[in-house]
Amino acid sequence: MSRVGSRSRGIAAICVATLIVVGGGGAAFAYWSSSGSGTGTATTGTSASFVVTSEAPTGGPLVPGGSSQSVAFTVANPSTATLDLSSLVITVAESDGSAWVSVPGCSEADYVIGTPVITYGSVAGGDDVEGTVTVTMTNTAGDQDACQGEAVPLYVVAS
């Protein structure tokens, strides 16, 4: 009986150790403590948002069926935690993401947004990642005069 109990305790100990390893390991990575030595209370981090900024477009102004413009973006991680950048979606839209309707006769359909060129992956706290995207204007069979001289708003969602 005592030998069986000894074995049971041994198995239980292994399981507990496993749980500690698995659970404790996860818990350890869920804490975002500042680097350095010393003691302190590790607190559970909160997920900060990326900050996306853009540069002025380069290349000639857009014309129907003409060459593209390139817009450079910077996706910054303002937090101290490492964040995962896995997607960058860029559309022609207002600054709140709603449809661009402020120029009657000219719409998102008049433009083509290229695939963003950026390196996805983890972005260390305080670090940033730079990328670019191209914009071209389609030459439609319809009248696109309303688009002349306009600034085309781009809305970027990083996640």
Binding site: R7, C15, G25, V51, P61, N77, T82, D84, S95
Partner: protein, 336 residues
């Protein structure tokens, strides 16, 4: 012993299974964020400096300056604006454009027109401002409008140059060409000249019926006339400069009816200013017209008597007579 080994193996399997099931711990947070940017769109500049001039009967010549800016248009099309609406002009359309910077809009009837020129680049277009209006009153002269000189006989000495047609009717005497030069056609006693004479006579009758706004008499030297219908019951003379002031209106119409002769002195001149155009000036004379040597005269002379242009003088217009026309080293240019 065997049971103990099985128990340890089972425990080990549980541990390994849990380790595997736990998976790698994530080294980052998943997060989101938004931002904005913009792209800029170019523009197509419109053509500029659009002009429209009545170049010959029923025809308006439209000219313009090319679009400025970095974008070169693929072509241009022309629109004519009239009282009854907008029409394509010069045989152009958005799908049939011109590469050049001028065109002739032919086959027009009487009326007032202005023109716009549209530059096209792919799906873009840029429309110019309107030209100044151009007035066509070709039917006033009918087929006679094509003639620079028309009479029962036409004679010149020296190197007279006539820009339009020259015709005689009912006679066929055309003397002095060459050395004189007719840039149009010579209709010596033919049916075209006969029809032109009928139209000339009709125009004379029409213009003679216009009610006068002002009266004229004597020597017109130094006078400045505003647009309108003028009448003189006796002969008029000009020993210096007569000014016709259009008042900024390119449609300004001057009709000067005289029930007697007109004669101008050597080196005298009729000067057109501020929109006045020779195409809109009519001298309707029920007798002879004689211009002085080296004089400068403007407008269409429709005379029942003979017309004699002084040696070396210029006429910007037409000399249409029911009698003979005599010239000497003259330059007769189109009434524009």
């Amino acid at each position: 012993m065997l049971r103990r080994g099985v128990a340890w193996a089972a425990a080990t399997a549980v541990v390994v299974g849990m380790l595997v099931a736990a998976g790698p711990a994530s080294a980052y947070w998943h997060s989101g964020g938004t931002g904005v940017g913009s792209a800029t769109v170019g523009t197509l500049a419109p053509p500029t400096e659009v002009t429209a001039v009545s170049s010959q009967p029923g025809t308006v010549t439209v000219a313009w300056a090319a679009s400025g800016g970095a974008l070169t248009p693929e072509g241009y099309y022309v629109e004519r604006f009239a009282a009854d609406g907008t029409h394509p002009a010069c045989g152009t359309s958005p799908t049939s454009m011109l590469a050049g910077l001028s065109c002739d809009d032919a086959g027009l009837s009487d009326g007032t027109y202005d023109y716009r020129v549209v530059a096209v680049y792919r799906s873009w277009s840029a429309r110019s401002a309107s030209s100044a209006p151009v007035v066509l009153i070709t039917s006033l002269l009918g087929s006679a409008a094509a003639f620079s000189v028309l009479g029962t006989a036409v004679t010149t000495t020296g190197f007279t140059r006539v820009s339009g047609d020259l015709g005689t009717t009912p006679g066929a005497d055309v003397v002095g060409f060459p050395d004189g030069v007719v840039e149009g056609e010579i209709h010596a006693g033919d049916a075209t000249a006969a029809l032109a004479e009928l139209d000339r006579a009709a125009a004379f009758a029409d213009l003679s019926s216009r009610t006068e706004d002002y009266l004229l008499s004597g020597d017109l030297i130094g006078q400045t006339l505003a647009p309108g219908v003028y009448y003189a019951g006796a002969a008029l003379g000009l020993t210096g400069i007569l000014t016709l002031d259009g008042g900024g209106d390119p449609d300004a119409l001057f009709i000067i009816r005289v029930d007697a002769a007109i004669s101008t002195a050597a080196a005298s001149s009729v000067v057109l200013i501020d929109g006045a155009r020779a195409a809109n000036v009519y001298w309707v004379v029920d007798a002879a017209v004689t211009t002085g040597a080296l004089s400068s005269f403007s407008g269409t002379i429709i005379a029942q008597g003979a017309i004699t242009l002084g040696a070396g003088g210029q006429l910007a217009g037409r000399a249409l007579s029911r009698d003979a026309v005599t010239m000497a080293d003259n330059l007769v240019t189109a009434a524009t």
